[in-house]
């Protein structure tokens, strides 16, 4: 190797490096590919001097500074940073083979088994080499979310990809449920706060007054006809029915304010623009620093919001072009904020006929039959329910 080619080689490499970072911002896009024409256009090698270029390229490849890549438009080359290349030169042949595989796999990592198959080495040898590389702190192992049993290897200088770790909600390959729970609560509280009107209950008396509750009439002096009618369950006397439509006496505001019946949350008027959006939520959570360092991206928050929507806790609302979220069934929500989602149900649970009766949740409902092992007359769930 004469001096001139050596100089040319360095020139070519630095010219390529320059190309990677044309603005001089310090961030180099190492995944950019150079074709033969690209290399000629750098003005390092005289035009049409294929022989010299080939020589230079093979030298650079041998120095691990160039990585040959096959593309649809013929061969091309990728650059490897000099520090990385230096690592290669200190390795043995076997180590180099394994390391290059791990290097090429990038952030996704490689599985032990795959290394063995690709290199055609003995399993023991692979193990040995991996151990050596690990000793040199060149590679490290991690677990993949989708396959926790597989031992995956990655360069120690980079972090596993999102696909491999599962995203922000995973810690060491495990779903971090406590983190999810905590952030959910924060998100939910924020959504609730921004999408509802907090009324201290000053007017709620007037509000409640507009409907009279249905009070079941007690059959104390019930006549037989009463009892018989009740027996059929369909007819009730007129007194039982809701007295409705009686004109409401307007309650004066001052009087109403005295009679507080507890704070409530009220829905916002239609077209309200204050419903919190994903970017706003992300910013607020970042500011509050609840995640202690781990940065949550908008996509992470969106994922969490989706889950809350599926849970029926919040709902998506689009006002104009603003896509926000608000708590669902707002007037049924607990008006106090900062409640834990796990410990208490934040809203009045819904019920229907099947959830309140014993039959709806009976474990042996399918067996229940007149004359069978389980039947209505001897049902212990009914016994308990009717007491």
């Amino acid at each position: 190797m004469d001096d001139q080619t050596s100089i040319l080689k360095d020139q070519l490499y630095s010219a390529c490096e320059q190309k990677l970072d044309p603005d001089g911002e310090g961030e180099k896009a190492y995944d950019r590919l150079f074709s033969q024409d690209d290399l000629f256009s750098l003005d390092v090698v005289p035009p049409k001097d294929l022989k010299t270029l080939m020589k230079l390229i093979s030298m650079l490849t041998n120095d691990y500074l160039f990585i040959p890549v096959n593309t649809n438009n013929g061969p091309a080359w990728r650059l490897r940073p000099e520090i990385e290349a230096a690592k290669y030169s200190s390795l043995s042949v076997n180590q180099r083979m394994i390391y290059s595989l791990i290097d090429n796999a990038g952030a996704d990592g490689v599985w032990n088994q795959q290394l063995r198959l690709r290199t055609n080495m003995e399993e023991n040898l692979v193990k040995k080499v991996l151990k050596e590389l690990e000793g040199k702190r060149l590679i490290s192992s991690f677990t993949h979310v989708e396959n926790a049993a597989r031992k995956m290897w990655i360069k120690s200088s980079i972090k596993p990809s999102l696909k491999a770790t599962g995203g922000a909600w995973f810690t060491d390959g495990d779903l971090d449920e406590s983190l999810i729970g905590m952030i959910s609560e924060v998100v939910y509280t924020l959504v609730k706060k921004h999408g509802a009107y907090f009324s201290d209950g000053s007017r709620s008396k007037a509000r409640d007054g507009s409907i009279s509750p249905v009070l079941p009439k007690k059959v104390i002096k019930g006549s037989t006809s009463d009892a018989a009618l009740a027996a059929r369950g369909k007819k009730r006397t007129a007194d039982d029915m809701e007295v409705d439509g009686a004109p409401e006496v307007p309650v004066s505001p001052s009087k109403a304010r005295k009679a507080k019946s507890g704070p409530v949350l009220l829905p916002m008027p239609a077209g309200y623009k204050g419903y919190i959006t994903v970017p706003e939520l992300t910013a607020q959570i970042a500011r509050s620093n609840v995640t202690k360092g781990t940065k949550l991206k908008e996509s992470d928050i969106k994922q969490l919001l989706d889950v809350l929507v599926y849970d029926g806790r919040i709902e998506y609302v689009k006002v104009g072009k603003r896509e926000g979220y608000r708590a669902s069934r707002i007037s049924k929500q607990d008006p106090t904020f900062n409640v834990s989602l796990d410990t208490v149900d934040t809203d009045e649970p819904r019920h229907n006929g099947l959830t309140t009766a014993p039959c709806g949740r009976c474990p042996v409902f399918d067996l229940c039959e007149e004359g069978g092992p389980v039947w209505a007359g001897g049902c212990e769930y009914f016994d308990r329910w009717l007491i």
């Binding site: 059959v219 007037s331 099947l354």
Partner: protein, 654 residues
């Protein structure tokens, strides 16, 4: 209604509860064996034909069976009407809703009709009079129309006639004719047979076939119009005529609904018409009530009341809940109502200014709130999207809002609110809210405040109401189909949440939104551990809430090489849950029977004529307590049956 084993059992039990063992046994046989003659029935029940006839009379009177006499052989076939039998469970609710919407006296009248099955108008009026004159005794008497000769007190009779006319006009009562007692299939067959007579050589060729179908469709429509003719005559006067407005105002607020005596609407001839309760229309009213409750749950009580007003304004045009064979096209078109019409239906006592939070006008995007959706979403999804993007463009330019909301909710000390009506902004009203000064809201304020509730309803994801036009301060309509779908889902969700907890709800809702999903994607979307997801899914699959499909990736069909796709099959689940609900109702009624047997001794004493009506005085202390206990259990069981029926209604009928 699909008559499953449980549904059949339920119908029989209900008839047994109300009309006794004889009719219920006959009905059971009719359900099990299908169309039968008296001979067959006698054979299958091991009863004499005389007994069978007795039972059939009761069933026919209540319209619980269809009968059809073959004109050639003059043999009569009987067939069970399971819908009618099931509707027995709704009697109480129907009376309740009529009392609510049309006043106490109307409810009393309908009660009579329900007791009697079907009855001539003149007899009904007489019966009503007797009931009013001696309220104690006549109430329970179901059979035998006691003809009272005292004609001097004709006020009650006139009142009754007027109410009947009104109820027919509204559609709660409907006249019966001979064909009402035939099953729809028989009627159709009869119609087709009549038409066939004009084709002596049979229907041949495409042209004749089309002709035939058109004729039979026309005849079918004619048949349906027949029963509506009286309604049509009356509704001109009662719903849209000069007297309509006065009545409408009287409806809700006064218990004694319509006390006008223009009995001339029902002349002597018309009084001979027999009427029965039209369950279809009653279901419409019940559905309105159910939807109101739904809104109360989702948004709030005041908004629900506004919604109720909107629904009752709409209900005038809605005679049946679901478009089916029974209805012809034109009756099912849901028309829109204007804001003014809704306003007229609004209860005067309702404080429409409450129930919505307040926000500064700058925070309101009026354009988005007032967005008009002329077409049903889904029908014209593309167009809607474009509309929205246009809106968006506008928003960029003018962020200052010209409309402030007229809703000032809580203790505003001195606020001036500028109300301009919507887009046109032609009218401006200044409202001053001051503390301690009872503000009598003007009509315009109330109207604007009510509109806010309507807009809120329109904005909701549930699509309670659709703002479909600008005429007369806005037109509104309700897309019942899609709304009932969401209501069904919400009931299923409740069931799932209560049975499997929040995680179960989350997983099923993901599946509903995304379709079929495999084991890998589901945990990622739900942010749950794979093992937890698996346990939950299997649990729900075993309970029949979810389905799983196996897709082998290669020919080996080993478990490891197979994709397991979970999915949520709505139809199947609905049928299943409905049937479970029937079964549950059956169990409640059976349990009631058991409880009755347990307290046989007490009930025997209570049944005695000298004890009836004064149990408290006549019964010994411990016996009376036991009786009270029984009544508690009874009301609990029957109340639960009613709630279960709510579910069935949502799943099947609304």
């Amino acid at each position: 209604m699909i008559v499953t084993k449980n549904a059949a059992e339920l119908c029989v039990l209900l008839i047994g509860e109300l009309y006794g063992q004889l009719p219920s046994r006959l009905f059971a046989v009719l359900l099990a064996k299908g169309r039968s003659t008296i001979k067959h029935l006698a054979q299958n029940t091991s009863m004499g034909p005389r007994m069978v006839r007795h039972g059939l009379v009761v069933l026919t009177q209540q319209n619980l069976i269809y009968h059809y006499t073959d004109p050639d052989t003059s043999i009569t076939h009987f067939e069970a009407n399971s819908e009618a039998a099931y509707n027995i469970v709704r009697h109480g609710k129907i009376l309740n809703i009529i009392h609510r919407n049309y006043g106490e006296d109307s409810a009393r009248l309908v009660h009579q009709v329900l007791n009697l099955g079907h009855v001539k108008i003149s007899d009904l009026a007489k019966q009503y009079k007797t009931a009013r004159q001696e309220p104690g005794t006549a109430n329970g008497a179901a059979n035998g129309i006691s003809s009272d000769t005292a004609d001097n007190d004709s006020d009650y009779e006139g009142e009754a006639l007027d109410m009947v006319a009104q109820l027919i006009a509204v559609g709660i009562l409907e006249p019966v004719n001979a064909r009402t007692f035939q099953s729809p299939e028989d009627v159709r067959a009869g119609i087709e047979k009549d038409i066939m007579e004009s084709y002596p050589s049979g229907v041949r060729g495409a042209k004749q076939k089309a002709d035939f179908f058109q004729k039979s469709a026309e005849a079918w429509k004619e048949y349906q119009d027949e029963s509506r003719e009286l309604k049509r005559q009356l509704e001109g006067h009662y719903l849209f005529g000069p007297g309509a407005k006065r009545r409408k105002l009287a409806n809700g607020s006064k218990t004694n609904g319509f006390k006008a005596t223009n009995t001339h609407m029902l002349d002597e001839e018309k009084r001979e018409v027999a009427v029965r309760v039209n369950y279809d229309k009653c279901l419409v009213e019940l559905r309105n009530h159910r939807l109101t409750r739904y809104v109360a749950d989702e948004i709030g009580e005041v908004t629900a009341q506004v919604y109720e007003a909107a629904l009752s304004a709409l209900a005038k045009n809605v005679n049946i809940c679901q478009a089916s064979e029974k209805s012809n096209e034109d009756t099912f078109v849901t028309r829109s109502v204007t804001t003014m019409e809704i306003f007229e239906n609004l209860r005067p006592g309702l404080d429409v200014s409450s129930g919505i939070g307040k926000a500064p006008p700058t925070k309101i995007n009026a354009k988005s709130a007032e967005r008009i959706q002329a077409n049903q979403p889904g029908h014209d999804a593309e167009g809607e999207g474009e509309d929205m993007s246009e809106d968006d463009d506008d928003d960029d330019d003018d962020d200052d809002i010209e409309m402030s909301n007229g809703v000032q909710s809580n203790g505003v000390h001195e606020t001036e609110t500028k109300i301009t009506s919507g887009h046109n902004g032609s009218r401006e009203t200044k409202v001053k809210f001051e503390e301690n000064v009872p503000v009598a809201p003007t009509k315009a304020d109330r109207l604007q405040q009510m509109r806010q509730h309507l807009l809120l309803l329109a904005e909701s994801n549930r699509r309670f109401i659709r703002h479909c036009g600008m005429r007369d301060q806005g037109e509104w309509t309700v897309d019942f189909d899609s709304l009932m779908r969401t209501l069904k889902y919400s009931e299923i969700d409740t069931l799932i949440e209560q049975t499997f907890g929040k995680p179960g709800l989350r997983l099923t809702r993901i599946l509903r939104a995304k379709g079929k999903l495999d084991d890998k994607t589901l945990p990622a979307l739900a942010l749950m551990k794979k093992a937890d997801v698996h346990v939950k899914m299997v649990e729900m699959e075993l309970a029949g809430f979810l389905e799983v499909q196996e897709v082998p990736r290669d020919n080996n069909r080993t478990a490891s090489r197979t994709l397991f796709l979970w999915f949520f099959e709505e139809e199947k689940l609905l049928t299943r849950v409905t049937d479970n609900t029937y079964k549950s109702m059956v169990r409640h009624l059976q349990r009631l029977e058991v409880e009755r047997r347990r307290k046989k001794n007490v009930l025997a004493v209570v049944e005695r004529k000298d004890v009836q009506g004064m149990e408290e005085e006549k019964l010994r202390g411990d016996v009376y307590n036991e009786y009270r206990e029984f009544l508690d259990i009874e009301s609990k069981l029957l109340g639960q049956v009613d709630r279960l029926d709510d579910l069935v209604s949502v799943f099947q009928n609304y």
